[in-house]
């Protein structure tokens, strides 16, 4: 994905060639859908939100100031939309409370512990059950390959705020997961 391709397509769209927008859609549909999916865990809704994000990007192309990379602007726009959409109508899986997470599928599996798959699922469900500001910071941080600066730009927040939210989010996760996942082993001990 090249920034110059984005810039060329944007200029063509602004000059009246709507079909040039397809290049932008094809380049960024994957990342934007995956980001939306991490927010809502619903494929259909992720595609709907992504379509709306592209429409908003189309309407606001003229507002993109070329001092920032196009993808940064696009991700910030999409993130803003996903956050407000999920605050308006929360994802079904997000409505799970933190106390309901990490119930093991089989508490006796693998020598009293959880299978890796169950454990990974428990961690992901725990992230979705976090309060919105911590959840959003964690989702963006891991989506952008653990790059705090990029996550901060997407969220439109200072890096320090994102770092603080990541720290607090991880603390809550660690506390809840240790507490919940430790139960089967404690029973066996």
């Amino acid at each position: 994905m090249s920034a110059s391709d984005d810039q060329a397509d944007v200029e063509r769209v602004l000059a009246g060639d709507i079909s040039a927008f397809e290049g932008i859609v094809r380049r960024w549909q994957g990342p934007l859908i995956n980001l939306a999916y991490r927010f809502c865990r619903d494929r259909g809704r992720a595609e709907e939100m992504t379509q709306e994000a592209f429409l908003r990007a189309y309407r606001g192309l003229g507002q993109w100031r070329k001092d920032a990379v196009f993808s940064t602007w696009l991700f910030a726009l999409a993130t803003n939309l996903y956050r407000s959409e999920l605050r308006r109508i929360p994802a079904r899986s997000v409505s799970v409370s933190l106390d309901d997470i990490a119930e093991p599928a089989d508490a006796r599996a693998s020598d009293g512990g959880l299978e890796d798959q169950d454990r990974d699922l428990a961690v992901r469900r725990a992230v979705l059950a976090l309060p919105a500001k911590y959840r959003e910071a964690l989702i963006l941080f891991y989506f952008h390959d653990m790059d705090v600066a990029t996550a901060a730009r997407s969220l439109g927040l200072p890096e320090g705020t994102v770092k603080a939210r990541l720290f607090r989010g991880r603390e809550i996760l660690r506390g809840k997961l240790t507490q919940r996942l430790a139960v089967p082993r404690l029973k066996e001990a």
């Binding site: 859609v25 595609e47 379509q51 961690v123």
Partner: protein
Amino acid sequence: MRRLIRYDENEMNRILSSEDEILPSSGFAVSVMDAVRREAAAPPPIPFPWKRALPGLVVAGVAMVLVLVAGIVAITQLGRTSTSAHFPTFLSLPSLMPINFHGGMESAASWTVLALLVTFVSVKLSMRLASGRV
């Protein structure tokens, strides 16, 4: 022996970084482009006719300020007369009000008719402005 599962930083990073990627549906890009073309083909939203509305807004603003000032003056005068007199003058209308207010039912009806007329004219005028016939 008691053993707690501790998720250290690396373990949590590994789990949360290794998300499965989902692929867009086959017709996704086409449906986005259809929506974009519909958006482009739609007529632009009608801007509010500020030029035409401005005189009316100014008149309305001035009238509102005048009514407010008249009201405040009337209330102050009412307070003065009620403290100086022995009878309950607050029941009578202040002298500052237009002479029509001092009349009976007939004058009240005429004011009501006038208000209705002004409302009717302003509604008709705004409808004509909205439909672009003026």
